[in-house]
């Protein structure tokens, strides 16, 4: 889909000056997964009526990463971009089994790698070198395969949406894009049919989850338009 879009744009670019409004680059960053437990499914049932701890690691402990290419079309105020790439999320689940003289805590770590195509629309203000912006983002993701059997307890597709903010820093020949965004999952990502297929242990069942995330990225963009003359070097002409 992306290549078809680029092909279309490229073909028309020569006639319409489209290339003058195109920036291409790449980026990377870190993210923090924010897990919302929609409905817990504990594998253990206590015969005395106790409930066992069933929780997820905190926001700050769930550090993942993302790598992507970035393609932008812009005009004076608006920017539309695509950031296809791999987005990995890490988090842990903690389960307790309680006995009179001992309490066993089990930790299961997750690494979910998605191939994602976020689409962002940004409104930016031109402050010469800096161009701060804010906008919205919607994203389609597809979960990549893994040898970890826990991976089977998730459905493949994932849609998310959220807000982004940041700033462009124009360094004349390259443009940096400092970006932060919070994306909320739009649906449960656990597979209801496979929630008990957590591996040979079968020591826990997959809860219904929303996978939200806060992400920070730095991109390097190459503008295809003629550079503007406002940098310090230009002052000496």
């Amino acid at each position: 889909m992306l290549s078809a879009l680029l092909f279309s744009m490229g073909a028309a670019a020569q006639r319409t000056g489209f290339l003058d409004h195109l920036r291409i680059g790449f980026g990377a960053g870190a993210n923090m997964a924010h897990i919302i437990d929609l409905e817990p499914y504990n594998i253990y049932e206590d015969l005395t009526g106790e409930t066992y701890l069933n929780s997820y690691s905190g926001f700050a402990q769930n550090i993942g990463n993302q790598y992507f290419i970035q393609i932008e079309w812009f005009n004076q105020f608006l920017v539309a971009n695509l950031k296809p790439g791999t987005y990995s999320y890490r988090f842990s689940k903690f389960n307790e089994v309680v006995f009179t003289n001992e309490t066993i805590e089990e930790e299961v770590t997750y690494l979910l790698r998605y191939l994602s195509v976020p689409l962002e629309v940004r409104y930016n203000i031109d402050l010469q070198r800096f161009r701060p912006y804010a906008g919205i983002s919607v994203s389609y993701s597809h979960l990549l395969g893994s040898n970890d059997p826990v991976n089977r307890t998730f459905i493949r597709p994932r849609f998310s949406a959220g807000l982004v903010a940041g700033t462009y820093i124009d360094l004349r020949y390259v443009i940096l894009d400092l970006n932060a965004g919070y994306l909320s999952g739009l649906h449960n990502v656990a597979s209801k049919q496979e929630r008990f297929e957590t591996g040979s242990g079968a020591t826990f069942a997959q809860d219904d989850l929303l996978l939200n995330n806060l992400q920070f990225s730095l991109s390097i963009l190459f503008s295809l338009q003629k550079q503007r003359n406002y940098s310090n070097v230009e002052c000496f002409y």
Binding site: F99, I155, S191, Q193, A202
Partner: protein
């Protein structure tokens, strides 16, 4: 420019198709928690060991689970009774402990109540009827049998009980009407004193013998196959339904070998699992003359090397939308529950299902549920130490072979 717009429209259409396809996977509203689940029922007391015996589906939905509970600090050596009621998703609604000893499979419906057979401290068997709403005892009825080993409600609603009479050293089979009045009984002489082994079986300190009662209907008559001690050995004894008189049997070497499960198919055809010479065997379709005595080794069997030593096996029939099957459920040396699915019509093994665990498991019972799936009751050693009941519910779709 027109071409660009065309390409963009194509891209949008393709994206919509992808979106629609993915939406199908996201929409999981048809999958309900009660369709399939796995639940381990833990009690925090480390000194308790749970030996699951039987599971039954309740009329209004949900399950009742019967376990024998051995308390290592108890002065009574025999296990007491524990009942757990769950909802249809396997979540506990109540749990109740009773003083009746050594409850023996199987749970059965009796009007609005659920019954099972257990014994008092004098080894006298009783029927105990409980209210499924709260687990309280509604009524008890004494049975003439002692040391009850297994019980079954037959097609006519009669209760058939196998016990052991330590005075006459014989296996004791008795049939009761639906209001628990003795109809007939028969004592099969063991000819040797096996009381100690039976005691160890009942108090869960010795070998767990595969006692069972199954029904069969042949053109020559209906009857029961009772796996019990008889004439020095562990035998599958065929009894006439009307008189409880023996007609034939399948014997093996003393009590070290025998049949672990049996299911009647049609006419003289049976499905059997057995163990001898250190191996387990599956005989999915064998011809058995119920009027003669024959050696288990004369029946051709397929070795099942993956099963545990002298593996416990539960067998039964299920019906799916497409066909009828016989299931043989057991456990492997690698801590998995295994289900051998044999098609009734073709007598062929069509599927083998595995459910893996980290810890040792042992199957106790299974039922086909009202929604067409099956619920398996097994014992699992949590953390490799504490024996507790586990229920695995599997949906019907898993038992329908793909074309």
């Amino acid at each position: 420019m027109k071409k660009v717009i065309e390409n963009i429209v194509r891209c949008c259409l393709f994206s919509m198709l992808v979106f629609l396809h993915e939406s199908c996977e996201i929409n999981q509203k048809e999958v309900m928690p009660e369709d399939g689940f796995l639940k381990i029922y833990n009690h925090p007391e480390e000194r308790l060991s749970f030996y699951p015996e039987s599971i039954i589906e309740l009329t209004g939905g949900g399950y009742l689970i019967l376990s024998a509970v051995k308390d290592e600090e108890s002065e009574i050596e025999y296990p007491t009774t524990n009942l757990v009621r769950t909802n249809s998703g396997g979540e506990v609604e109540w749990s109740n402990s009773l003083d009746w000893l050594a409850p023996s499979a199987t749970l059965f419906h009796s009007g609005n109540q659920i019954g099972f057979v257990a014994m008092n401290q004098q080894f006298e068997a009783h029927v105990i009827l409980v209210d499924p709403a709260n687990g309280e005892i509604a009524a008890t009825h004494p049975l003439v049998v002692t040391m009850p080993l297994v019980a079954k409600k037959d097609r006519q609603g009669n209760l058939v009980v196998l016990g052991y009479d330590f005075v006459t050293r014989s296996s004791w089979i008795a049939s009761y009407s639906d209001n628990f009045i003795l109809q007939r009984s028969n004592q099969l002489s063991v000819n040797t004193d096996l009381e100690y082994l039976v005691q160890r079986h009942l108090n869960k300190t010795g070998q767990d013998f595969p006692f069972f009662i199954k029904e069969y209907q042949t053109p020559d008559g209906n009857g029961y196959c009772v796996n019990c001690f008889y004439n020095y050995t562990l035998r599958g004894v065929f009894l006439d339904e009307a008189s409880l008189g023996t007609t034939g049997d399948i014997y093996s070497f003393q009590i070290e070998e025998g049949i672990s499960s049996l299911e009647h198919k049609s006419g003289s055809r049976f499905g059997i699992t057995s163990y001898y010479e250190g191996n387990n065997y599956l005989l999915p379709d064998v011809d058995i003359d119920v009027s003669v005595s024959q050696n288990i080794k004369d029946l051709p069997g397929n070795p099942l090397y993956e099963l545990t030593f002298k593996a416990a096996v539960c067998s039964g029939r299920i019906s799916t939308e497409t066909a009828e099957y016989t299931l043989f459920i057991s456990q492997t040396n690698s801590s998995s529950l295994v289900i051998y699915q044999v098609e009734q019509e073709s007598d062929s093994l069509v599927m083998t299902h595995y459910q893996s665990f980290d810890e040792r498991v042992e199957v106790a019972d299974f039922i086909q549920t009202a929604d067409g799936g099956i619920s398996i009751l097994a014992g699992i050693h949590i953390l490799g130490k504490y024996r507790r009941p586990v229920v695995v519910k599997m949906p019907e779709e898993q038992f329908i072979p793909e074309e």
